[in-house]
Structures are given as C-alpha cells and as structure tokens.
Symmetry: C2
C-alpha cells in the first residue's frame, strides 16, 4: 500500500492542474474525509499568510506535507534560476531557501519543475543558462542537506519547457549537479508524452525516483485515461519505492470529485 | 494492407513535425525508394512555385497525393476562419478554395487542423468565433462537394489549440456544419493526450474516420513510442477503413530515417 497525497495550491494559481486552488480549508477537509495521508502544496511566496496558515492547519489536522512545488515563481513572477538578470536569481535563491526551511520540519520534498523556465536564444546562451540551472540547484541542494531536505527534479513535457523533458534527462542533470539529496519526480502525465516506454523508464531510474504523481494521460485523476497504472505500481514495488502516490490533476469535474476519484483508484493499486 | 503516405512540406515550415521541409525532391526520392503510395503536403500558398512543382513531380513519379494540410496559413500568416478581421477571413476563403482545386484531381483530403486557430476572449466571443468556424467550414465543404473533394477535421491536443481536441468534439463540429463530405482525421499523437481510450474513440467514430496519421506518443515514427498500433489497426479494419496510414512526425533522427522507420512499421500492421 502506497502513501497518498493530493497536490493543491493554498493561493489562486496560474498553473491549472491543482485542486482547490485558493481554498486550502476545503482541500484539508477533503483530504481528511477521504483519508489522504498528505498534502502537497504549490507555493509562490512561502511567507504568504495563506501558505503559513495552511502549513499550520496541515499539522493540526494530522496530515503530512509530502512536497512543495515551486513552479509559481516562474509562472507568476517570471523568476527562474536561468534568468539573465542576476537580481532575479538572487531573489529566487532567497525564496528557495525559505521554501527549503518550510519543508524541513516535514521532511518534505522540494520540487524543481516549472521553476526551471525555458532556455532561450543561441545554443551558446542556452548552454550558459543550463549551467546556471546546474549551479542554482547545487546551491539549493546544499542548503537542503543542511536542513535535512531532498529535492526532486521533475521532467516536464515539451510543450511546457524545452529542457529536462525525460527521466533520462533528469538523471543526466542530477549527475551534472552531483549531489546525493537529489532525486526524480515522475509525473505520469508528462511521461505519457515523453517516455517511449513508461515502465522501462521508471525501472531504469530505480531508487532515484523519490516522488511520484500518478496523473492520467488526459491530466484527470488516475483511472480516467489510458495509463497502465497497475504496471507502473508493480515497477515501483520492485524498486522498493516507499514514497507517495500523489494526484496533481485538473480540478475536473470539480476538485472534490477528482480528489475522491484519485484516492479510490490508488486504493486498487 | 493499408495504403501508406508521408507528410511533408514542399516549403520550409514553422510547424515542426513534417519530413523533408523545404526539400520536396528528396522527399519524393525517399517516397519512391521506400515504396510509399502517397505524399501528403502541408501548404501555405497553393500557388507557391515549390508547391506547383512538387504537385507535378508527385504525378510524374507515379505517387498519389493523399491529403493537403492547411495549418501553415495560421502558423505563418495568422489567418484563421475565426479571425475577427473580415478581410483575413476573405483572404483565407480564397486560399482554401484554391487548395480545394489543387486537391480535386487527386481526390485528396483537405485537412482542417491548425488553421482553426485558438478561441480568444470572453465566452460570448468564443461562441461567435466557433460559429464562424462552423460557417467557414460549411463554405469549404460546399466548394469541396462541387469539386469532388472531402474535408477532414483533425482533433489537436490542448497545447496547440483550445477547441476540437477530441474525436467526439470533431464529430460534434461536423454535426454543427451538417455536410456529408466532412470526416475526421485521427492523429494518434494527439489522441494519446486527449482520448481516454484510443481504440474506443476510433471505434465510436466508425466510418467518419476518413484519414489516419499513425504518429507515435513522442511524435516520432510509429514504433518508437508506446502507442498500441496493432490494436488501432484492428479497429480500422473492423470499421472497413480503406484509406491511408500516414506518418506525420518530427524529422528525427533525420527525415529519411524517420520515413523508413514509419513504413517498415506500417508493413507489420
């Protein structure tokens, strides 16, 4: 039996596939009612009162915080570690350190996904930007180690970013950074577009898979599309995966229904 | 045994998944060498000398012209039938009529895909734009009937357009237009993202499926990703599909190799 988690946003979010965006009390009510183990929060500003209040309520309601996603810094503020503006990079560093501090008491994963942004310009410029990402994630990983926090690199499909689309590319990036507290977040929605063989990609990454989002091929709750989750769950068991199955889906037909569909499906795995 | 076709662009194209873009002589050489039955061309301006020369050469080389794709009018010129600018709509109408005339002697399908553009603004405005698309495709279909040409509506995934993403939505659009010479182009790359069950979606559309692009989940040649093509081919046979299997892929590792991979795979179906 895997642990279960639900990806929400305590604040309204530009990024669509999050449940209960802007309504964390309803999210926690649903999580408790449906017996989720944990909540995963998408955070722009870790000092936002809604984030602080949500964090406290997660504790009070007896839930866990499984992970903190960081993409809103790019989607809402345009901040990314590859920015050409050193001031933006400094602002983002400071925010990421605060997010790592927020994750620390929970032993929650910090997700490096959409925050990576998109490489631009000439091949040389893109190479420089990639190096900046390697260096920035190296700094975050060091700060994470000092705080007992691991980071996970999330491969994202080609339509949303132009680098680190596949699990192999994430593993390559992790080797470039060269730190132990870095793993991979496998999101099956992205894998369905990018991986030639989903099960084989998961298997080949072995214990580098540190967090998993079981989202279906159409970005709805697992079981609403065509991904073969039983096969992927078997691979995770073989690999000794002891983490969460998280649901990061579009709030369709509504957040509560999607949350119920996901956990009902997870229980069959 | 299905007939085979290869999607190319006689001119350089903004739209990436086309083989031999800008080099139609190499495309026709490859098609003849590899024993493709037909070529499918992506056309911006049907009077472009490269298009005219390619059309003549297809005939001379003993190939067929299976279909003409029209998305470049939107991707390169911003022309779409839903444009708020009546002048653009008139320019596009004239171009579409010329494309239908080009298709006529071949009995080739004219594809209504990317040219649809993207709905914008308020819900009311989007409704008006959708109505414009219905009316425009009605005009194209009438002109097509007068010229013995059928049109196919291609569902395209959510990242490339915000309307007609699924086969069901295409069938709904066709009912709204209400003409007989309208069918569906099923592109498995898009279906992999949008259809909850690919085989069931194909089956439910029955003989409205008039053209098929067997492109794999990662937009490479069939066989390079995880789509279950044997299952889909069986559905097409059951439906009595007598059209082409076309390959519309990224030119990776290069156009010639992708063309060979696709037809080698098609021969196994």
């Amino acid at each position: 039996m895997f642990k279960s988690s639900m990806a929400i946003s305590p604040t309204p979010a530009v990024f669509a596939p999050l449940l209960f965006a802007g309504d964390w009390p309803a999210a926690l009510d649903a999580a408790v009612d449906l017996s989720y183990d944990a909540i995963e929060i998408s955070v722009r500003d870790p000092d936002d009162p809604a984030v602080v209040a949500c964090d406290e309520a997660v504790r009070r309601r007896g839930l866990q915080l499984s992970a903190i996603a960081t993409g809103q810094s790019f989607y809402s503020d345009g901040w990314s570690p590859i920015s050409d503006d050193p001031e933006v990079r400094t602002l983002l560093d400071e925010r990421m350190y605060r997010i790592i501090e927020l994750a620390s008491p929970w032993n929650a994963m910090v997700v490096i996904g959409g925050v990576r942004g998109t490489l631009t310009g000439s091949e040389v410029h893109r190479g420089d930007q990639y190096e900046r990402a390697v260096e920035a994630v190296g700094r975050y990983a060091e700060y994470g180690r000092a705080n007992g926090v691991s980071l996970v690199i999330e491969p994202i499909n080609r339509y949303e970013t132009n680098y680190i689309n596949t699990i192999q590319e994430a593993l390559h990036f992790i080797r470039d950074v060269g730190q132990d507290n870095l793993g991979v977040l496998a999101d099956t929605f992205h894998m369905n577009i990018e991986e030639a063989n989903l099960a084989e990609s998961l298997r080949s990454a072995g214990d580098r898979i540190r967090h998993v989002q079981f989202t279906d091929s159409n970005r709805l709750a697992a079981g609403r599309g065509h991904i073969d989750f039983p096969e992927l769950a078997a691979v995770l068991r073989e690999s000794g995966y002891g983490g969460y199955l998280s649901t990061e889906t579009l709030p369709l037909p509504d957040s509560r229904t999607a949350a119920k569909q996901a956990i009902d499906y997870f229980r069959t795995l």
